[in-house]
Amino acid sequence: MRYLTDRKRAEGKGASGTGTEHHWYMQTSAVGLAFMVPAFVFIVGHALGKDRAGVIETFANPFVAILTGLVLLVGMRHFAKGAQIMIEDYLRGTAKKMAVIFVISLSYTVTAAGLFALAKIAL
């Protein structure tokens, strides 16, 4: 038992128990993605249609490789946290927990697969 009053335990944390941390992450990642995504769409759009050598040449470029890595990493965290909010709106109990775990696992797997491919292409 912790010697804290109920008020002290709850203050500033809201219904989520983590305060505004989640919302603040969505805001900061949104701003980051707002700068990166247009360039990424343009790069992928141009690379799509090239042969394998052309695609490898595009993504082996350091700027493109770093940008792609960042879009994947930040984009997938943004996705996981956004999807978690959706799940929390529509599901309850064990179903909610399982869905949240699934979404977090999926987003990390996609990130890892993408970074692995990038490393193989760029290095």
Partner: protein
Amino acid sequence: MSETTKVERPLSPHLQIYRWHIPMLTSILTRVTGNALIVSTMLIVWWLAAAATSDSYFAFVDGLLRSWVGDIVLTLSVLGVWYHYLAGLRHLYYDAGHGMDIPTAEKLGWGLLIGSVVLTVLTIIII
């Protein structure tokens, strides 16, 4: 310590009992596009992984993405990206405490719907 009694909290409102209006439609589309983009991301990652693997595997995945089905999915992905992009900017604007009155919210909603289509067409032209 307080008792953690289980309280029946309300779920999100049931959409079918509401008359659709622009802020409501554009809000739910933000969620739909955002979550649908996982499919687009997985396709692009798959395509990158294929490029990193071998000529034959790349030819297979690349062929899939450049087929007419791939064209439809990728065009919808671009539309989804731009819609979610504009909706995200609107969200930041709302969060800063602006644009919450009904006339402005309606205009912003139309801005998202029209703007995302315009940006998609521009993207297809540029690419």
